[in-house]
């Protein structure tokens, strides 16, 4: 009995491995490397990290090489950008983009900043949401604003790292609504979640993707989304816009490489990402996570990133954060 089962599963594993290895060489001819590193500055378990780790399994199938996710933490992306800037442009190493790396480039003086990188393909737009602990009295962001106006000390906001997009969303939100409550930064999305769960902060900004197990378990609630329309997966949750706060925030998630990646490699990524987005298993995953697929090819994505940087810079100057 015991050995029988063990052998069958082992045989299955071997067979699966064999299949994978016979498929690999065919695809590998299309891609010049057997191992490709995807760098993220996200601390492990953070949004980008989870997304990349989820995607690499499917990417491997679609493109051939083995993808490895590497966390190059530090400097809110500065270290990761420095690594990318000094890496070969032969298609062996890429960067999982989020708005953070552009903000970091704008907030500090760096040798290697976002201009050292170029967009290769966008994958998702990731809606930002406001969440609270399940037993919180707040039902919408308007409740939070009202409570904070009545007594600024009664509300504490939580955001992830200092250079993150949510940090700036929070400043913009405070400016638009005139709220003055304090904002607490964390080391990453995981720590922020703990702060909400133990009641340290009253409301926080996060991405559905990281929050879904807690939402399913009824530990936390989403009270508002920063989207243009209500989300299909959360039809009862109002948008900020509905409540008179005209902000739509999309955290983009894509792939960038050191500037100078060849057109062939870019094309390989373009087909690869499109293939991955069509994969039914991956589709099932990302729909459940409320990630909105938003593929952009290299040229378009690079332009998009530059536009984003220009907008952000204007914002930072307007808010007196940089000169």
């Amino acid at each position: 009995m015991r050995f029988g089962f063990g052998k069958i599963t082992l045989a299955a594993a071997v067979a699966a491995g064999f299949l994978a290895s016979t498929n690999a060489p065919v695809a590998a001819q299309e891609y010049p490397h057997s191992t490709v590193t995807l760098v993220t500055h996200s601390s492990p378990g953070g949004g980008t990290d989870v997304f990349l780790r989820e995607m690499v399994g499917f990417l491997g199938k679609a493109m051939g090489p083995t993808f490895i996710v590497e966390n190059v933490k530090g400097g809110s992306g500065a270290k990761a950008m420095a690594k990318l800037a000094s890496s070969p442009t032969d298609g062996s190493i890429f960067y999982g983009t989020t708005p953070t790396y552009i903000n970091t480039s704008l907030l500090s003086k760096l040798d290697a900043d976002y201009t050292s990188l170029e967009g290769v393909a966008n994958v998702f737009m990731d809606p930002q949401t406001v969440f609270v602990r399940a037993d919180s009295p707040f039902q919408s962001i308007s409740d939070v604003v009202a409570a904070s106006k009545a007594n600024p000390d009664s509300v504490l906001f939580g955001v992830t790292t200092p250079g993150s997009l949510d940090r700036q969303v929070m400043e913009k939100f405070k400016k638009m609504t005139g709220v003055t409550s304090r904002v607490i930064t964390h080391d990453g999305g995981g720590d922020l979640l703990i702060s909400v769960l133990n009641g340290t902060v009253s409301a926080a900004i996060g991405e559905l993707q990281e929050l879904s197990p807690q939402i399913a378990a009824g530990e936390i609630r989403i009270i508002t989304t920063y989207t243009a329309e209500r989300l299909a997966t959360l039809p009862d949750v109002p948008t900020a816009r509905e409540q008179g706060i005209d902000m739509v925030v999309n955290k983009f998630r894509g792939i960038a490489g050191p500037r100078g990646v060849s057109d062939e490699i870019k094309a390989a990524w373009s087909t690869g990402i499109q293939k991955v987005l069509e994969d039914p298993d991956f589709k099932a995953w990302y729909s459940a996570q409320s990630l909105v697929p938003a593929f952009m090819p290299a040229a378009e994505y690079d332009q998009f990133l530059n536009d984003f940087a220009v907008d952000q810079k204007a914002f930072l100057i307007e808010y007196g954060i940089i000169k």
Partner: protein
Amino acid sequence: MEGFATAWSVLTTTPAAFAAVAGVAWGIVGGALPGISPSIAMALLLPFTYDMEPISAIVLLAATYVGAEYGGSIPAILIRTPGTNAAAATSIDGYEMHKQGRGGEALGISLVSGVTGGMIGLIFLVSFTEPLAKLALSFTFPAYFALGVLGLSVIASLSSGSVIKGLMAGVIGLMVATIGTDPLSGVGRFTFDNAELLGGVPFILVMVGVFAVSELMSQAGKPEWRKADDAQTRIKLPSFRNWRKLWKSQGIGSGIGIFEGVMPGAGGSIAAFMSYNEARRWSKEPELFGKGSPEGIAAPETANNAVACTALVPVLSFGIPGSNSTAILLGGLLIHGLHPGPLLFQQEPEFVYGLFGGLAVANVALFAIGMLMLTPAIWLVNRPKPYLMACILALVFSGIYSINHSMFDLYVVLASGLIGYLMRLFGFPFLPLVLGLVLGYLIEANYRRALELTGGDHRVFWESSISLGLLIAAAVFILASAVRDAQMARRKLRAATQAMEANAE
């Protein structure tokens, strides 16, 4: 009981037990290579797990973590180079024992302690997942700050004369910890526009420099090693009598390890150093610490293996990894479509109990494989000294390069080596420097965040009962050691004056 049955059936019907053994073996090798951290060892395996069934894949990764946490102690003891961050504390007394020709005994203690810590950690993981998860949630910013202060408070209890130098070394450690991106505002501090410094100075670089490189420098000047033939060339497990002497430090190690494993903000190296501190504080022979105390190995080694088990608590119950290693594990879970969180235990009991079973196998395997692997390790360090030292230097450089693939890091290690040598020369203790460095971020970030909660009101630190308790403990320890120091100084002075007067007459 149902859990045991589930675990048994999973272990007997899947190759999970085999994965546990393979993972431990790989983990020990990876952990024993300086620079190859548990997380790198796990990440290297990740691609091989894609085609495995989920339970085997996760057991393989978790077992690698267990093996690597132990493996790090081997080079820490034999060549004073911690293989992993968490083994840094072990190098203090482990290497001293090795220098005295008791390397085999030190390795035996480390192995037994690692297995003990792993088993106790596992028992807590299995039986108290929920209360431990609650404990993780109960720690807020003031409590983390107080935990850091308690860790630092040991500096004050450093023995005689060098208290001022100890404090200076501690402050320098804290200063080095401020290098990098500010945790609250995101501005760079002391980075001199150097991107390499934005992420701060990794603690392992300073550790390896201060301990291993300065040791090589010192050896170059004055060979202190015993000849290979009169040193122990075999691993020696502690006898029952000696093992009983270690129960207290192992208890301290497992307690702190269990506790800090579940805290997302703490982690293995802080647990190892804090249990080293506490073991020394509560030891009957604190004066042996730093001079080859078996307890100084038992405590941190029990702690870091206990951490390897209880660190799974926040991963499984919240989906929040507390360290790089558990994050890789989380990645493995997600790749196999398992979404850890409060519902995992209800939805996938087979998986959870199978994982627990696999960890039990891993801890048993750790003992057996550890015994097997130590013989070649001991053989290697008993090669002629010139060659050994040359290879250690090459190994240190190769391993450190592996962490960030950075040449800059190698220069940092070399500079730390020089600093370590100067510290030796001028009688500065290493431990406070390392403590300041390990705890600096924890203390500063949480101090400032805690005050942010109240808008600058320091009462926050005594309004939380956990933080109050930890701070009182720290204050008591500092006072106690100050009193003891003063008594000792007075006694010394009296003896000196008497001697002088006797001379003068």
